[in-house]
Symmetry: C2
Subunit: 156 residues, 2 copies
């Protein structure tokens, strides 16, 4: 997508999704040490999300996964990540574009990022050049408190 | 600098300084249209800052510049920017690394970013792997209200 003129909301959103990408990349390369663990919530209806049908039926809108000890084959590229988790003992492969992510939290250090549905936002305001910031991404300094229960509590 | 393990504060800081870089780059390429204007504050003692001695004497700690109509030769690269402004009718060339920037505001759309002195922070906490986020950069959604008077009020 071509960059629009001084759309700060887009720029901040893209920049902070890059922080999610870099965090996942570090986890893929070095594992998750200490108390670090990631809560990742994503829009299951977003284009490019690939999850088993049973999970899609169970989470028709949004799904939260936890990455801590029990995750496998975490692959991160420029556009998204893939990871294998177990649900009721059955392994499932999930593919999640970064643009589908609605929140990212590492409660061990009270770090959190919230994203709104930028895609809808863009569709609604196409052509507008003045985007107020703070709408699409927010850095939380306080304790992370994911609203939804994780689908896969991956603590061993 | 090699990336430390899951230093969210560093990652967010770097990502948001990238937003400043992209904003300045758009201004350099397309100019500043409409009511857009930038307040850029920076630490005049930071390594790599190049300003005339008279300005350094006048602003021994921090300086705020305004880019709106009367700025020239705005050059932006990966590490910082250079711009020519006039002070009392005299042109002066300023070179500012992104790492020296303490705040960036575009009041026309109430957009603002605040940065703390990451360098000092790093010196004080070297080796620590757990950085709480929100300390080094903050996205403002409210009206921008720079605390310091601009050194160059560049409105024509």
């Amino acid at each position: 997508m071509e960059q629009e003129y001084l759309r700060y909301d887009q720029m901040v959103d893209t920049a902070l999704r890059g922080v999610v990408r870099d965090s996942l990349r570090q986890a893929a390369e070095h594992g998750l040490h200490g108390d670090h663990h990631f809560y990742v919530s994503f829009d299951t209806t977003h284009e490019g999300v690939e999850i088993p049908g049973a999970l899609r039926a169970q989470y028709p809108e949004e799904m939260t996964i936890v990455l801590q000890h029990r995750f496998w084959d975490l692959d991160v590229d420029e556009t998204g990540f893939g990871v294998t988790l177990t649900f009721g003992g059955n392994p499932a492969r999930l593919i999640v574009p970064f643009s589908a992510i609605t929140s990212f939290n590492d409660p061990s250090v009270n770090f959190g990022l919230q994203f709104s549905a930028l895609q809808e936002h863009l569709e609604g305001e196409e052509g507008g050049e003045d985007g107020a910031a703070g709408e699409t991404a927010e850095v939380e300094a306080g304790p992370a408190d994911p609203e939804t229960e994780p689908a896969a509590a991956a603590e061993s």
